[in-house]
Amino acid sequence: MTATLDAPERVAVARPASVARGYRFELVKLVSQWRVRLLVLACWIAPGLFVAAVSQQSTLPVDTLFGRWMLATGWAGSLVILGFAGLYALPLLTSLVAGDVFAAEDRLGTWRHLLVAVRSPRRIFVAKVLASLTVIVVLVAGLAISSVVGGLLAVGNQPLVGLDGHLLSTGDAAGRVALAWLCVLAPTLALAGIGWLGSVLLGRSPMGLVLPALVAFALQLCQMLPLPVAVRLALPGYAFISWNGLFADPAQLSPLLIGIVVSLVWAVVSTALAYVVFLRRDFTSATLDGAGRRAILAGVLPLVGLVVASVVVIAVATPSLGSGINQDKVQRSVATAFAHLYRLQTGELNRPDVTEAQLGATAACNKGGGKLDPVGAGNDWRCVVSWHLPDTPAIGQAIYQLDLTPDGRYMADGDGPKEVNGYFLVHTPIGDAPNPLWQFDGNVDLLD
């Protein structure tokens, strides 16, 4: 049975598989999973169907930003989906894809097999990251494109009312909607980085799989707390909120850019940590000993350090130690939005057009009926808006109750007079239409 090799043969050195081949291999594995296929299908179909269905209803999701405009323009539906995606869909998607891409090999017991086939842990890591990133981008693109298509088909391509009440042309709306979706890729990448880190650190433990979703949930909780702006901006999920600033005029870019930079830094740092931990892993040992301690040392501590460093840098570079919400900002924001929306209402009622300058709207706001210091979030803000009525020396006044959240977003609810903001609908020459001054959403720039 035994043969001999008398003449020494040259044995070729086995070369590692290239990153491109590893990437295709990982992509094939990911796409072959029913879970991933269902996610792709859901992301490319469900948003469009949802937007189209909601746009046919009389009851709109007014609690969600831009929800009240879903009957008016097809672009609003995509922004409603974007708001929902930042809260739930994107953290869950990144959990299921990035949080599992390394852990799956632990679960299936295929690490050794993969190492023998690829012969380079570095290339395995890069291939896995790129493949899971591709799937995540495809999912996000599906959410964006599907929701836009659903909205445009169901409602149409009309101008969009911005967060300060000004009207965005259809082209401008399209550009800003696309930009908003691009912006949320940054925090999505940060969550993906956390997912890769958890997947590498925790192996087959379910904690690795759900880590991005848990982190996103914790970040959302933090955003609901009355934290200083510097802390708020230093958290990697802030860009899930700060895209709102794109829909103001001028755009509130500072919080958005800071949020994106912080998210990208988180993405890089957590991915780098995952890379280091992955390369140090001993694949000949079947068990992951000391995973809990290692998770704290290699994962939690550096990221906590990153938060602290980010807070310090942001606090030094910007005026951001307070809540970012004060009386002057609220008054300016409410007055601006009112003036824009008043023009909109004027147009609906077929009255002669007026300009914001002619209206000269101002707002006088207080908190807690004037008994509280007018700073910070709360649902006890009350504003009296005054404006010059066109062609008369009289001053018009309207009252709004504001529910202002710590991230600067508010909903202004009209509290009279009824001719201005008392009714949900206004009678126009072509029938009833939603009254833009009845309730409106706005956004206070925390770094203004």
Partner: protein
């Protein structure tokens, strides 16, 4: 002089404070099927992992197919196999699993045909079924097929017969025997002594990270101490009486089945006397195989030494 497929000298490998391999020597000739046996935790999987290049030894030297291994994942072309299961992706079909591996290796690497290896391991009929629905035995065979894709010159297999039914086991044996006949060296670990005995020409017994024995099976039998043999005869009482009179024979068993513990010379003496007295020998076989007995003896002894 024939170059060895595996030449390991004084290999030591530790995981923290645990010494997995302690001064292990191993020689595997080209075309040889070499068995690796030992109790759980003996270091078999670690040694197989080193042969596959998954890790590098802490000390000692290891040459695979004439290439010194100095770094992890530095094994030369022509080394294939699996440790700790065949490592397959359940969401892919058998054919897709193999096709993905072929694509991963790239166009320049020597690769056997997918249909060819599926046929060789007897999985052609289920080639387009998802591996997730395969039995353990089918997964083992698919893992073997994946290894065969590389046209291996050294095949490293961890428990290849695990989960195989007798037909599957025979199929795998045929494949391994054919590979060895073609010059492929095979190192396999197994807890099934009958597999090792029927397949392997040489065996290495590991116990607590050390080599308790390494060499041909025949040498193992010759070096071995007393074995238990079951002797079924036409006249059990008389056979028992004869056995009792032979020096170096210990008796056991019941009235119908005689079991003797002895060395080969005393067993020969018993057979001669039974035949001389006209007693028919209907069965004479070791209660446990020589390899298993040796395995138990050697490993027990090493445990005692510790």
């Amino acid at each position: 002089m024939a170059r060895l497929a595996v030449r390991a000298r004084e290999i030591t490998k530790c995981f923290g404070e645990v010494v997995a391999l302690d001064g292990v020597d191993l020689d595997v000739a080209p075309g040889q099927i070499h068995g690796l046996v030992g109790p759980n935790g003996a270091g078999k999987t670690t040694l197989l992992g080193l042969l596959l290049g998954l890790a590098v030894a802490d000390s000692g030297s290891l040459e695979i197919l004439g290439t010194p291994i100095r770094r992890a994942l530095d094994a030369p072309e022509g080394v294939a196999g699996f440790v700790d299961g065949p490592g397959l992706y359940p969401s892919l079909t058998a054919r897709q699993n193999l096709a993905a591996l072929v694509a991963l290796r790239g166009p320049g690497a020597p690769t056997a045909g997918i249909d060819e290896v599926l046929d060789e391991v007897g999985l052609t009929d289920v080639a387009d079924d998802r591996a997730g629905g395969f039995s353990l035995g089918m997964r083992q065979r698919l893992g073997l097929a994946a290894a065969l894709l590389n046209k291996p010159r050294l095949l490293v297999l961890d428990e290849p017969a695990n989960g195989l039914d007798p037909t599957g086991a025979r199929h795998v044996h045929r494949v391994l025997t054919r590979l060895a006949a073609d010059g492929t060296s095979i190192v396999l670990s197994s807890h099934r002594m009958d597999d090792v005995e029927s397949l392997c020409s040489e065996v290495t017994i590991l116990a607590t990270g050390r080599v308790a024995f390494s060499g041909p099976l025949s040498k193992l039998a010759a070096e071995n101490r007393e074995l238990d043999y079951r002797v079924i005869t036409s006249d059990p009482p008389k056979a028992r009486a004869i056995a009792a009179g032979i020096t170096g024979l210990a008796l056991a068993g019941d009235e119908d089945v005689l079991v003797v513990r002895t060395l080969v010379p005393a067993l020969d003496e018993l057979v001669i006397q039974l035949v001389r007295d006209g007693i028919a020998i209907r069965e004479l076989a070791p209660v446990v195989s020589p390899l298993e007995a040796a395995f138990l003896n050697l490993t027990d002894q090493q445990e005692d030494d510790r």
